[in-house]
Point group: C2
Chain length 265, copies 2
């Protein structure tokens, strides 16, 4: 299409003030942060009587059942898998009966890339990539769409895994699996990728400069060496798994090294 799609800025998703230069709205970037985070926090308001919002950790992937070949920079739904309680099921039904397109949820993903240590405690920070999506959650009922959701979620965790599991799923597999489809209304991302910085006065304080170490501590999340289960009979780690590990770890190392290079310049 040749143009970059962005989520419309509104009161809901505009990244304000301190983070102004960090706000990101391109679908591709927001979706890729969601897509590469192992766990997502899904928040919803239980009911008008409950004063506290709830957060459930879930696994999720971006996808489109109707246009499965869509890229990450195109409009997509978010498919979620996790324990869908009776309470959540009831809330979805209640939202629908009230004429809403589903249960309003907020989905968050956060990746910490490093610790930023400055002279002043107040200039300490972290480098990170985070994303938020706002949308309407519905429980998927079409067995084909449940299957689609499970496939993209499994393949997100380990690329190529789905085709290397026991197939086809049984009817019981499908009926006992709760998949939520979240139709995205809007979203945003926030990326901090900066070197330490301090106030002018502190930077001119010789004693302070000679006393306080300042710098950056990279934080990296790594997929370790696969360990076979007690009942595994396949001698070698399969190629798709080795490849997934390599790509996952390489992406994190490359991101970190690019930043360290930037720090030097």
């Amino acid at each position: 299409m040749g143009r970059t799609l962005e989520y419309p800025k509104g009161p809901l998703n505009t990244v304000k003030r301190a983070g102004l230069e960090r706000g990101k709205y391109e679908l591709g970037l927001v979706h890729s942060i969601i897509q590469t985070s192992l766990v997502l926090d899904v928040s919803f308001t239980p009911s008008p009587e409950d004063e506290f919002p709830a957060i459930l950790p879930m696994i999720g992937a971006m996808g489109s059942f109707d246009n499965p070949s869509s890229g990450l920079d195109e409009p997509l739904d978010c498919y979620l898998h996790g324990y869908v309680s009776n309470r959540m099921n009831n809330l979805v039904r209640k939202a629908q009966s009230e004429g809403k397109p589903g249960l309003p949820v907020c989905i968050a993903a956060n990746r910490v890339d490093g610790l930023v240590l400055a002279l002043s405690g107040f200039h300490h920070s972290m480098n990170y990539r985070s994303a938020c999506l706002f949308g309407y959650a519905n429980v998927v009922t079409d067995p084909q769409e449940v299957l689609y959701g499970m496939t993209i979620i499994t393949d997100k965790v380990v690329q190529g895994r789905w085709d290397n599991t026991r197939l086809p799923p049984t009817k019981a597999d499908i009926s006992s699996t709760a998949i939520l489809r979240v139709t995205i209304k809007t979203g945003s991302g926030k990326v901090r990728n900066k070197v330490p910085g301090d106030d002018k006065e502190d930077m001119e304080n010789e004693d302070l400069l000679n006393r306080v170490w300042t710098g950056y501590v990279p934080v990296t999340e790594t997929l370790g060496e696969p360990v076979p289960s007690a009942y595994n009979r396949v001698k070698e780690v399969p190629g798709y798994l080795a490849k997934h590990r390599e790509e996952y770890n390489d992406a994190i190392t490359t991101y970190s090294e690019d930043f360290l290079q930037k720090m030097k310049n």
Copy 2:
């Protein structure tokens, strides 16, 4: 005191069904998951007119300003640092004016420990440690308590760092820093730390067993080698930072190795 304090189970925090055996309520465990997570997701309901809950990533630490020597297994508040928008400030004030003890929030922490790969896609899972706290957020106004919050949050990120920054803070440092104190009403944790498992039928399927690799992929978050800033003059990485890194990384390695040992037995 000799007894283990637990959060009371109620409709808000009871870990249900599938997760039943994973539900944890001991203050020590719930607080330690919050305390060792680099980033926390904080959810609140913006206002009755906004249908979507909001999630903000924040940095936080457990502590007690009145009893600073309290242990992690004792009743504590959660101190949060992050961008507190005008909207959030207004919501806190509104909650107070409505006679509430603060803005109701949910705080979540998630740590992924590994990927669990089974024969059936539907038995794939992750090992993780997650915690949720429900409480009332207020903006801290006492300068001494702002200082306390900043100290414990900084020391949580790098143990011993606070005393090794520029001290004392200026009045501007304190007045420009927003710290939230969340008075905890209840909470819960959920820990999954299990080996892969499959249905009996799949376990008896010779062809499947010979074809599908099953096992565990450890996920570890590591603090890397500290990299000095462009203006750093302190030649050696300070002892407290080296020690913090070592302890942080060791705790994760030990947890992972203990699990792998359990897998073998």
